[in-house]
């Protein structure tokens, strides 16, 4: 686990807690809204730590195993702090047919350790621009393996 907090412009600790409390109150501390609340918590903290999950379980009056079970079921929830940069290689069918496999291989080779969280996406909905990768929110359309590798190799410093 990376102990350093990610630089994501997240509000100070107590402020986050207040916002999360408010989100839970808005849903009347109801377990039905667990997924909404997990989304809010991840937005505020960048990821879902075990202590955070336990706290939510207590607040929502749910067994901790239920909260962990729900959170780990869904791909979008993270349990480790995100790194400084994020890259998504789309593996939708159109991208796959246009060589996303090679793109991913190049990205895996070049993504510098500790700097990039590299994930794959299942269709980002821009199939006309396949293959596509999204680096720090910026879509790279019809990207070639070499160009993506260059971005991930550290030349891109945000």
């Amino acid at each position: 686990m990376n102990p350093t907090a990610p630089d994501l412009n997240i509000p100070a600790s107590d402020e986050r807690e207040k916002l999360l409390e408010r989100a839970m109150a808005r849903h009347h501390n109801s377990g039905d809204a667990l997924i909404e609340i997990l989304h809010t918590a991840q937005q505020l903290y960048g990821y879902l730590s075990r202590p955070l999950l336990s706290k939510m379980a207590r607040r929502l009056n749910l067994p901790p195993s239920h909260v962990l079970g729900v959170a780990t079921f869904y791909h979008l929830f993270r349990f480790e702090p995100p790194k400084k940069h994020s890259a998504i290689v789309c593996l939708g069918t159109a991208c796959y047919a246009s060589g996303a496999g090679q793109l991913l291989a190049a990205a895996q080779q070049s993504a510098s350790e500790g700097e990039w969280t590299l994930t794959t996406g299942r269709c980002v909905g821009s199939c006309g621009l396949a293959p596509i990768a999204i680096c720090d929110g910026i879509p790279l359309a019809r990207v070639k393996p070499g160009d993506l590798a260059a971005v991930l190799g550290g030349k891109h410093d945000g």
């Binding site: 109801s30 377990g31 039905d32 809204a33 667990l34 997924i35 909404e36 997990l38 989304h39 079970g69 729900v70 079921f73 869904y74 791909h75 979008l76 929830f77 593996l91 939708g92 069918t93 159109a94 796959y96 047919a97 246009s98 996406g121 299942r122 269709c123 980002v124 909905g125 821009s126 199939c127 006309g128 621009l129 396949a130 596509i132 879509p139 359309a141």
Partner: protein, 544 residues
């Protein structure tokens, strides 16, 4: 809002638009934005301001115009011209309608890509700003809801939908009217309407584009459904991976509530209807209706055995109507023009139009809306412009991970639910991916099997363990280690998954394998018996 209010609001917006000399609508959905559409729109707005023409030229956003591969697209109402591949530097030329300097990037409505389509669901895309409710109202929006609440009884609405013979656009094609009737007839006092916007098929972006480009159409369809079945609460379950669609739905719900088109006493009637948004968190199986319901209830998105079906016992045990985005988007026009009108479009057994997301090795990729029953050849080679020079068509993949591949000899198949099932694939939600001869079909089957394996929820053993086994076999085959006995094993496992899986994910997971085995058996043989990949693109081909 009252009936008069709706009319006034419509007239005011039409009047405002008629006083403009030109409306420059910039595509503002995911595809064109990824290509730099935001900067283009900003440059156009800047240019109009610089020319001091803000009073007579409006620059606005709009929904998907279809030709995503040539984006960013900009449409000018003066002359109905669409400009392709617009860059911020072209702003002055677009504003002045200087056609010479945009030569080669001018598209007309008479071009085969546009002329070959029949855009009903996407009628507003290219005209209406998805972030402004006035634009939707100006095009006749919410008139159908007005009719449904003031002139029609719930029974009449259901009858009209039944008459239209509209089939669910989520993939299975279940008649929408029958589903509505089941929920409407249920005596329960509490009922729900859910819009399934968890479009998860890789290569499918129709629903997302409808929500991003014309969200009010879906809200109106849901509200009409609520009126018809007796529900007061609706939910849209949207995919967490589509942030723009989520934002647009939120904006649209707020606007509709503010205008009194959703909420209490809609059009001064006794009809109350609220819509809330629920956001998925990345689980493909949540497109299955019982898994989706579990997810809205805040649980793991695992399906449960049906029956009982949701119309009987759905969200929190109450009768629930679940339809797909595109199904709801069809409703306003059915109420406006009547079920008979709709039943006359497209194929007799499955009327209406269908949006396809055409992508892969094709000249014009993007969104195409055609009457159901249009041939695959027309979609790909007339509207789609065919495969680019230097490539040869090999197969079209439909139906996503639950579908199959259509080889060249079936290019004339009419694209309707039953014809596609007949050749071993399915309509699915509308993804249509073109592959050329460099695609290895065994690898394509492996790609989808890996997808199903990753997305299996793990509840039932046939799907959880079967997808792993099948993925392993296909992996072996594409690495040159396939065995003769693998064929029998693949077929046995396929039968097991189809027969014994709990939900549609497992039952349909073998489809890509079965369809490629049926149409491309020789490619499998080459991998296993000759240890070579004819296409040269799978792992084995790449290393050889």
């Amino acid at each position: 809002m009252t009936a008069d209010g709706l009319r006034q609001s419509r007239e005011a917006e039409l009047d405002r638009q008629s006083r403009l000399k030109n409306r420059i609508a910039c595509c503002s959905v995911a595809g064109c934005l990824a290509g730099g559409g935001d900067a283009v729109r900003a440059a156009l707005a800047e240019e109009v301001k610089a020319q001091g023409a803000s009073a007579e030229i409006e620059v606005c956003g709009t929904g998907c115009m279809g030709l995503c591969s040539r984006g960013p697209l900009v449409r000018s109402s003066a002359g109905e011209i669409t400009y392709a591949e617009v860059k911020p530097g072209d702003a002055a030329a677009v504003v002045r309608s200087d056609l010479d300097s945009l030569n080669g990037r001018i598209l007309r409505q008479s071009d085969p890509f546009f002329a070959g389509q029949r855009r009903l669901i996407l009628a507003n895309s290219g005209k209406v700003d998805p972030e402004k409710i006035a634009g939707y109202i100006a095009q006749g929006g919410y008139q159908s809801l007005l009719r449904a609440t003031s002139e029609m009884t719930p029974e009449e609405i259901v009858a009209e939908v039944k008459k239209s013979k509209l089939r669910g656009r989520g993939g299975a094609g279940y008649p929408a009217g029958l589903k509505w009737e089941l929920v409407a007839r249920h005596p329960s006092a509490t009922k729900y309407v859910i819009c399934n916007a968890d479009e998860g098929d890789p290569g499918a972006f129709m629903n997302r584009s409808v929500l991003e480009g014309d969200p009010h159409r879906v809200l109106e369809g849901m509200a009409i459904a609520g009126r018809a079945v007796g529900a007061q609460q609706g939910y849209i379950y949207a995919r967490g991976e589509s942030p723009l669609a989520i934002e647009r739905i939120r904006t649209a719900i707020d606007q509709a509530q503010r205008e009194g088109l959703l909420g209490g006493r809609v059009f001064d009637s006794d009809f109350h209807f609220r819509i809330d948004l629920r956001i998925g968190a990345g689980a493909y199986v949540c497109g299955e209706e019982t898994a989706l319901i579990a997810s809205i209830e805040g649980k793991r998105g695992q399906p449960v055995l049906r029956p009982p079906y949701p119309p009987e016992s759905g969200l929190w045990g109450h009768p629930t109507l679940i339809n797909n985005v595109e199904t709801f988007a069809n409703i306003p026009q059915i109420i406006e023009n009547g079920g008979d009108w709709f039943a006359g479009i497209g194929a007799p057994a499955s009327p209406g139009t269908k949006i396809f997301a055409v992508a892969g090795r094709i000249r014009n990729s993007g969104l195409v809306e055609v009457p159901i029953g249009t041939s695959l050849r027309t979609i790909l080679f007339e509207i789609g412009g065919g495969v680019p020079e230097g490539y040869e068509f090999k197969a079209a993949q439909t139906g996503g991970p639950a579908g199959g591949c259509i080889p060249a000899q079936y290019l004339d198949v009419p694209m309707d639910y039953d014809s596609l099932t007949g050749i071993g694939t399915m309509m699915g939600s509308g993804g249509l991916i073109v592959m050329d001869t460099s695609s290895c079909m065994v690898d394509v089957a492996r790609f989808f099997m890996e997808f199903c394996m990753d997305e299996s929820c793990g509840k039932c053993i046939p799907c959880r363990a079967g997808t792993v086994q099948m993925n392993e076999i296909l992996g072996r085959m594409t690495s040159g280690e396939g065995k003769e006995a693998d064929f029998a094993m693949l077929e046995a496992l396929s039968g097991l998954l189809v027969e014994a899986s709990l939900c549609g994910l497992g039952r349909a997971a073998p489809n890509p394998v079965l369809s490629t085995l049926r149409h491309f058996r020789s490619e499998y043989d080459a991998h296993v018996r000759e240890r070579r990949c004819p296409a040269g693109s799978c792992r084995m081909g790449a290393s050889a």
